[in-house]
Symmetry: C2
Subunit: 416 residues, 2 copies
């Protein structure tokens, strides 16, 4: 049988979108509409909201030091349930469907249990079913290791499953259905005048995801960028969705006509600041600090080395994620002799605020606007870091809302 010549679409539904029989029926109706519009559809589903947490809690209660392979075998089952139920719901409204576990597709991953990376997806079976008019419902978040064990891709991994499947299928688009209707210029819970973006570039979305916007998993945006998978974020709670791109399209920069200087303002509360006071100001001191942290798997984000007062010692300030904070302090204390600092000063009450936009590449003055705006509000900047398309500053957490609102206004992002 020759493969279907229809365009292909991947539709992904998160935990709140499949949280019960009625929600899954709504998902089936959304899928049916796309089938009727002429697509071969692969659906990727998460576990019902709360299910994975329940399974993880069981595993941790049984043993905090559980084998990661068993964790994966347990934590992956919620997606199998939703995949089966979604196939049943589709069949019930006249749309032929079958469910696929990760190992059945197969979604081949490496053997890093708990946060595996997808290596290859064999889509022959799904494509054959497309030829028979069957919708493929694939369990997200999971794959199979080279040893034939079930793996999981890490929390939020179903987004990555969906984008990678879209890449493997050569899909026209990957639609990520969630409980919000798109990507906003900033968090609408903080800024009432936040606007939904019609389009955002892969690079910008990657920075926004990394910098605290939780709408898409960072890894999924990386995969979308690498494989040029046009990815739409939209709401599963609006059943008129699915036509005319009602959500936010994450796409190539070239596809975005109207370019803004700054596309969004993001913030992350998951930051903790560590300062090593009076470390020797000599070559190699940075390595003596950051190598042991890297060896312990601790990501260090922003770094600033203060100007030396006396030419002999300096202060070194950097940030880690809150989850790594205690462990980072222990690693530093363990290496105290080798590093040679006087004392450690810490501050967990900090927030990272960032402005993001590909326009920065060609326009100067974006950072200056940021610094001036924050200064006018009396907000002290503790650390600064920049990349080609973003500027991030670390400030005291109590100023978060004030800073985000002021920057949103300053860059002309407020809704009219």
């Amino acid at each position: 049988m020759s493969a279907s010549m229809k365009p292909r679409l991947v539709m992904k539904f998160g935990g709140t979108s499949v949280a019960g029989v009625e929600r899954i029926r709504a998902v089936a109706r959304l899928v049916k509409r796309q089938v009727e519009l002429g697509y071969d559809v692969a659906v990727v589903v998460s576990a019902m909201s709360g299910e994975t947490n329940k399974l993880v809690a069981f595993t941790r209660e049984m043993s905090p030091l559980h084998d990661a392979r068993e964790y994966d075998a347990i934590a992956s089952t919620g997606e199998n349930v939703t995949a089966g139920l979604t196939a049943v719901a589709l069949d019930a409204i006249g749309v032929p469907a079958r469910s696929w576990a990760g190992w059945q597709v197969p979604i081949k991953t490496d053997g890093v249990h708990g946060s595996a990376s997808i290596v290859e997806i064999g889509v022959e079976g799904i494509v054959e079913r497309f030829g028979q008019g069957v919708v493929a419902v694939v369990a997200g978040f999971q794959g199979v290791s080279p040893e034939g064990r079930v793996t999981t891709l890490g929390r939020g991994g179903s987004d990555t499953s969906a984008v990678a499947l879209a890449a493997a299928l050569g899909a026209e688009r990957c639609d990520i259905y969630t409980d919000v209707d798109g990507v906003y210029t900033t968090d609408p819970r903080i800024v009432e005048k936040a606007q939904k973006l019609d389009k955002v570039s892969y690079e910008e979305m990657l920075e926004m995801a990394s910098l605290g916007a939780k709408v898409l998993q960072t890894r999924s945006v990386e995969v979308a960028m690498i494989h040029k998978v046009r990815t739409q974020v939209l709401s599963s709670f609006d059943e008129s969705a699915g036509e005319n791109l009602p959500g936010t399209l994450v796409c190539d920069e070239d596809e975005i006509m109207e370019k803004r200087l700054v596309t969004g303002v993001a913030y992350s509360r998951d930051e903790a600041k560590i300062t090593l006071v009076r470390v020797p100001d000599r070559p190699g001191v940075a390595a003596s600090i950051f190598s042991p942290l890297a060896d312990a798997g601790i990501n260090v984000d922003m770094i600033v080395q203060n100007v030396s007062d006396d030419g002999k010692t300096t202060d070194m300030t950097f940030t880690t994620g809150k989850a790594d904070f205690d462990r980072a302090l222990k690693v530093l204390e363990d290496n105290r002799a080798a590093i040679g600092f006087e004392r450690i000063s810490t501050d967990p009450n900090v927030v990272k605020v960032s402005v993001i936009g590909v326009g920065m590449r060609t326009h100067a003055g974006v950072a200056q606007t940021m610094f001036k705006t924050l200064a006018e509000k009396g907000i002290n900047i503790q650390v600064i870091s920049t990349s080609e398309i973003k500027v991030s500053v670390l400030i005291a957490a109590e100023y978060t809302e004030l800073a985000v609102r002021a920057l949103h206004t300053a860059y002309g992002l407020d809704k009219a």
Copy 2:
């Protein structure tokens, strides 16, 4: 690496035995003891009690006419969770273990989704792990079809998983841990003087399981009998269990020294009586009744054809399971013209009481004792059926307890 030379043991734990973290920890301790006694152990687990019912309810709510393949994909996940948790619990007390899904073992079945039969079990992987000192924890109730889809073995199928695995591994014994401490001469909830049997033959256990004793799934006893798997039923709630065969051993008749005339009294409430009144008394009438019922997949159990009064018509009485009752009536009505009965008379308030024992093969008078005992209590026998090692009678349901107690006493089964 050469295979381990240790004797092998399969230990199966049902839903109440794994109903939560603490219960699974108790299971791990029972397994550890057998490992310390020198066995290579394969553990087969059910889903936590209530989990499979919850998954089945979801599926039925989604669509009463669901695809059986999706039912299996959904209903099988509870066992994967328990298998993973059991492996974690074993690891946590120093017993190396890994979990196996049915498809990973693989437990190969036919493609009859919802009630698949095991065709072959590939034990190479498990045996290799035995050689490394690892306990295998296998998800019960499930397998994989020739098409690579997940199958389930039908309710109670984990018993069959365990016995079939024991056969494939050449295990010394299969221990079925449950919430009762063995097989009794009759239901202890009805007869206070019921006695636990030390041993019971495969044939007797098969009749007892078929006739209403719910302690083992019928199919698992068939597999045990065919492959001569010595199978012990015992309680997981008694942590002193596991040594010196504290439960009931289901074994070959030859292994049982002390033979009783009657081993047990069983009853089944899952019966409904149908009488076709005034069917033509001619050759072929039985076929005209029972062929369409068989075609519809309805099992007919006891059958009696009454003596013809007039030489022209007769009454035909038979029983079906309660679940098939309505469907059986519809099939009969649909075939009314071909059969030619006057009317249908029904009675769902009946119970089948049976006495079982291999001793019947060599001793006459067992049936007579039964008839006499029931007559003395004023209980009318509606239908009788016999096999080589059992006599069953159909009586009014209200006499169930009276009949079972009287027979238990009459055959000398009462505990001193």
